[in-house]
Amino acid sequence: MPTEVLIETLRDGRRSLLWWTTGLVALVALNVAFYPSVRDDPALSDYAKDLPESVRALFAGGELDLASPVGYLNSQVFALMAPLLLLIFSIGAGAGAVAGEEERGTLDLLLAHPLQRREYVIQRFLALATLVFVLVLALLATVALGSWLVDLEIGFGKLVAASVSAGLLALLFGAIALAVGAISPGRTRAIAVAAALALMAWVFDGLGQAIAALESWRPLAPYYHALGQNPLREGASWEGWAILALATAVFVTVAAVGLERRDVRQ
């Protein structure tokens, strides 16, 4: 397996990765740092209890007790903020890998070299996975260190489970953006389609928590397999991870086949 495209993509992406890591670490650290004041002020926690269930499901991971370690970390980091940042990064990079390079005019020259298109797609995806993995590590390190500093007692294994889940979710939608851009040109559309699907999955899972009739349909949305089952409390869902990984592999395959079959724009 050739690795030139993988290495070049990582080299090219390192500066942007540095900024993303800095931003993610800063935001997560800030949120974790406020834990002691929330824990010691019951009024803030009571406020969450009065929220409608659907709102709580969407923005606080369904947590009732924001003063509890799991409730706090879910509502402040893992329910929305961390997956959102990872999703934005991953979808942007996924759309950039084929559609973005094509719009910049570089894909034409690269693919005129002795390089299989499917190899190009797979190497770009592996680069994306590596970058997302680095962000997940940064996320994990920050919550682990921060939790320890503010006595937020959650097992390290649970933190790993939640961080990896968020990463796998982001990777899936990155693969979707990659596939959309590989099937037909257009970076903006690739981002729009992937972002719209991610938003729908998120809303669908939130509604599923709140509305009993939708509960049994929740597994249809990828969000359920990543964070919908509360990995921070329950630990890793191997089945959920396998489903996410499989879906990601399907979209990477679609991307590889899609690009193989179409004309490349100049």
């Binding site: 070049e8 570089t106 693919l111 005129a112 070299h113 002795p114 390089l115 100049q266």
Partner: protein, 300 residues
Amino acid sequence: MSAPAIETAGLTKFYGETRGIEDLDLRVERGEVFGFLGPNGAGKTTTIRLLLDLIRPTRGSAAIAGLDTHRQSVEARRLTGYLPGELKPPARSTAIGFLSYLGQLRGGVDRRAIGGLADRLELDLERRIGDLSKGNKQKVGLVAAFMHDPDLLILDEPTSGLDPLRQRDVLELIRERAAAGCTVFLSSHELDQVEHVAGRVGIVRDGRLVAVEAIATLKERALRRVEVRLAAPAAGAERLREVPGVRDVTLADDVVRLDVEGPMDALVKELARLPVQTLTSEAPELDEIFRSYYGRSHAD
């Protein structure tokens, strides 16, 4: 016998309803420098991108050194150096960074080959590509096409965007590679960009190949526009109308304008009788060559 460098059979590409190229049957021999001429939008770039498998034919096929350009595209592209018509290298990389990457895609290229080409073209390899002028970006593309010493060079308008001096360097580079046995397929919309390097040219127009000729033959058949300024109006000028190959003569006082097709010998001998002050002869535009060629081949 080894397969020709390039061979296409009924190669056709439509973009929806729009014709890119239709029923192209072309054969370029190994070691040949072949000029692919035509006005902008005639189908030159479409043909080149088909050869590189960047776009897929509506029907027909093409082969490079006997390798099908689609089914064996990686092998075919390994033998090929390509300069796109509109090169857009990534702005953030340095020239050397980008060229090394492209070299890696070919399994590694000798750094000295890159350095040597950059020296010849006077390209600063350490500069960021985003800071380079259009002509210097073109040089990056030229180095990328030449650096791995390919068997076949496919160059889409290689001299566009370069100043005349640099154009000469590029043509010289092409001549050298050709002398070393490399096949060169270069497109242009101007005959004078290829006439000094190419042995044969194909003329393409509106998506169809209308003629394949040796440069020498083409120029022989081509019209040249001649303007003669006489020292004084001369009655003998009227006789120029009778000279074989001469047409469209206009006389205005002491200026004679005319077109001449083929050898100019008879015209020159007739002019010798006149008090010629100045004589200018313009190389014909490609379109005029095409028209004269097209007109002739129908009249034949």
